[in-house]
């Protein structure tokens, strides 16, 4: 009997607090909500946190927006999609039911694709920040994206491998069931083979941490480059194995590896490591300084950025995505998600990572250059190699 009374009391308390919460949001009329759909844990947690940091910094720089002559406070509604295709949709549903006007994210194309239908049904537009797989925006009108795409990035990397290393044979390692990894690996392979090269590919399953055999295979095959478009967690393990087996071929990777997780893993090791990315630190002085100050001002921010104040390209992209969203809100003249969706097609914005404008077909950003960086394994910092377009 006692237990039953307790249960009734508890459920009553929950009900009351829920009503209170809804009431509180209903009364704060001058707030516009921007959803942040990013991983804070799981395989892509490190990158997702850095992207979120960029968005949070942008929010601290510009916390208000004027919509149709009225000043609104911008509130970030941040959810964790756990880098998981199963858990992503429920995080996305929360954003939809919270009534956000537009969603930013996600880092990692798989989770973005997994949540796409939820946003579509909820009528909420989404802006992909660094999800590079073509399928994210293909065949829909609500998902936009401000970064370059994998067919472009894969070709850039393949061209870079043949230009810089005169590579004839490449070893490509991708993760099973990961759209980003498989996609980028596929486009690299295609471009590399079109240029007359030979590709040896392997895949590894989720949860694998033993990369010894893969590195051995790459060595035995005599590959000139080792291309691994994988998450940073797997990357750290691959770097470690490559160094302990004395792999001579340079490691190549896409945007995900542009993270200080990689720099920490590669520091003090004898290997060559190149990545393509969206933004090069030093590209915009004002942003760099502000971002560093924001990261250093708070110990949680610093921990989320990987323990130091190196600026990740994904943070810069997050920053740009936030302002792109504000432009769309201004253009729509309303906080209604449907109007914001329409306004997004015409948004133009000059961000720290370059000019942003969406094509009229899929809502992809129009971009034609990527930056290539090399990890300096002595100092643990990125060094700028050059810009690379496609031939």
């Amino acid at each position: 009997m006692k237990k039953r009374v307790l249960a009734v009391l508890l459920s009553a308390a929950v009900a009351v607090s829920m009503v209170a919460a809804t009431a509180a949001t209903a009364f704060a009329a001058d707030t516009v909500k921007i959803g942040v759909y990013e991983p804070a844990s799981g395989d892509n947690g490190a990158g997702g946190k850095q992207e979120t940091l960029g968005i949070q910094y942008a929010n601290s720089v510009q916390p208000t927006v004027e919509i149709d002559g009225k000043e609104y406070n911008v509130e970030l509604d941040i959810v964790d999609n756990e880098s998981s295709n199963d858990k992503g949709p429920s995080a996305a549903s929360k954003l939809v039911s919270d009534g956000v006007s537009v969603v930013l994210g996600s880092y990692g194309s798989s989770v973005a694709i997994a949540a796409s239908d939820i946003f579509k049904q909820g009528g909420v537009p989404a802006i992909g920040v660094t999800c590079t797989n073509p399928q994210v925006t293909q065949g829909n009108t609500h998902y936009f994206r401000i970064c370059f795409l994998d067919p472009f990035q894969g070709t850039v990397l393949a061209n870079f491998a043949s230009d810089k290393f005169k590579a004839k044979k490449a070893y490509v390692l991708t993760k099973q069931g990961d759209d980003y990894s498989a996609g980028l690996g596929h486009y690299f392979t295609k471009a590399f083979e079109d240029a007359g090269g030979e590709v040896v590919s392997d895949t590894f399953p989720e949860g694998n941490s033993d990369f010894a055999s893969y590195v051995t295979t790459a060595k035995n095959e005599g590959a000139d480059v080792f291309f691994a478009p994988v998450s940073t967690e797997a990357a750290a393990l691959i770097i470690d194995q490559a160094a302990s087996q004395g792999l001579e071929a340079p490691l190549l990777a896409g945007d995900t590896w542009d993270s200080n997780v990689i720099l920490n893993a590669a520091k003090g090791k004898n290997l060559q490591l190149y990545v393509t990315t969206f933004y090069q630190e030093g590209g915009n002085k004002e942003f760099d300084e502000g971002m560093k100050e924001f990261v250093n001002s708070d110990s949680t921010n610093k921990a989320n950025n990987g323990g130091n104040d190196t600026i990740a390209a994904v943070s810069a992209m997050g920053y740009d995505a936030y302002f792109t969203a504000l432009e769309a809100l201004k253009g729509a003249g309303s906080t209604d998600p449907a109007k914001v969706n329409e306004a997004l097609w015409d948004v133009q914005y000059d961000g720290v990572c370059g000019h942003i404008e969406f094509d009229k077909e899929n809502g992809d950003a129009v971009r034609d250059t990527a930056y290539v960086k090399q990890a300096n394994t002595e100092t643990g910092a990125w060094e700028f190699v050059g810009e690379q377009g496609i031939k």
Binding site: A40, T203, G246, N304
Partner: protein, 294 residues
């Protein structure tokens, strides 16, 4: 010769990872032998040992943090048994199994909360993480040490079970739980000892495993834990030599399969092999035939 030096790294990786699975598998097989319980939390104890090492090594030197990891892991293993399994000793076997699953998720989520969900970099333990060359194959020293250390530990364990009083008590308890209790064996201390030994070996396994594969995430224990469990079943659950041999077979098989270029199927092959063995020999390689007592 060239063929040999090309393929040696696969074999080395297989033997080494097999040794690490063996150290975890012993924990499964001993607990099962005595309690008839599949301790699902064992893989997570392995993960926690990794995390303790990461945090300990940031504040204290290696010669303190390594013993600390061993002691702390043993204490956690002991506490898990006392808190989550002992109160359920007379409950149906299913309840205690569910309790084990609960502990597993509790440990994973605690780790998620403490680490924030990001992979933590395992510290390099001096000497064993140096790079060496064996017959033309470059690898870490730990790869070579693991099988020997595993075999030494297993011999010590078998001796402990054969020749000491507590070992005799363990054997008695695994033969017949209730009768051994009636014969005056303090069953609780026997069970605690089982968990202490299992956790100690898991801690040693984690030192070796993470030195080679340096990322620790909250779910990192799941896959090695599952493979070690499979190894224990494969060798005949309840049998220590069986678990060790099973672990080496699984470790070597999966790396040879990767070496042959069928990386996509390496896990599938491992588990298919398990099914084949179990169909041919349902009790595993060294399992005892179960006789129904009337």
């Amino acid at each position: 010769m060239e063929w040999f030096s090309r393929n040696l790294p696969y074999l080395l990786a297989g033997i080494s990872v097999g040794g690490q699975y063996a150290l975890i598998a012993i924990g499964y097989t001993m607990v099962y032998g005595i309690l008839r319980l599949i301790n699902f939390a064992h893989g997570d104890i392995f993960m926690v040992a990794g995390l303790i090492m990461i945090y300990a090594s940031t504040v204290m030197p290696m010669y303190i943090s390594i013993p600390l990891v061993l002691v702390a892991t043993v204490v956690i293993g002991f506490l898990v048994e006392r808190v989550a399994y002992k109160p359920l000793r007379s409950a149906p076997r299913m309840s205690i199994m569910i309790s084990a699953i609960g502990v597993s998720y509790l440990l994973q989520n605690l780790a998620l909360y403490i680490t924030g969900g990001l992979a933590q970099q395992y510290p390099a333990i001096p000497w064993i993480s140096d790079t060496i060359t064996v017959l033309g194959a470059t690898t870490k020293r730990v790869t070579v040490i693991t099988p020997f250390l595993t075999i030494i530990l297993v011999i010590a364990l078998v001796a402990l079970i054969k020749y000491t009083k507590i070992g005799m008590a363990m054997r008695a308890a695994s033969k017949d739980f209730e009768t051994s209790q009636l014969m005056g064996i303090k069953i609780n201390s026997v069970i605690s000892m089982t968990f202490i030994i299992g956790s100690f070996l898991a801690a040693v396994g984690s030192l070796l495993f993470f030195t080679n594969y340096t990322g620790v995430t909250p779910t990192v224990g799941a896959m090695p834990g599952l493979k070690a469990f499979v190894a224990a079943v494969f060798g005949g659950i309840g049998s220590i030599p069986g678990a060790v041999i099973g672990a080496f077979i699984i470790g070597i098989c999966e790396n040879i399969i990767k070496g042959m270029g069928w990386t996509t199927f390496s896990d599938a092959f491992t588990f298919a092999l398990l099914i084949v063995i179990l169909i041919a020999k349902p009790t595993g390689l060294f399992g005892e035939k179960s006789t129904d007592k009337v």
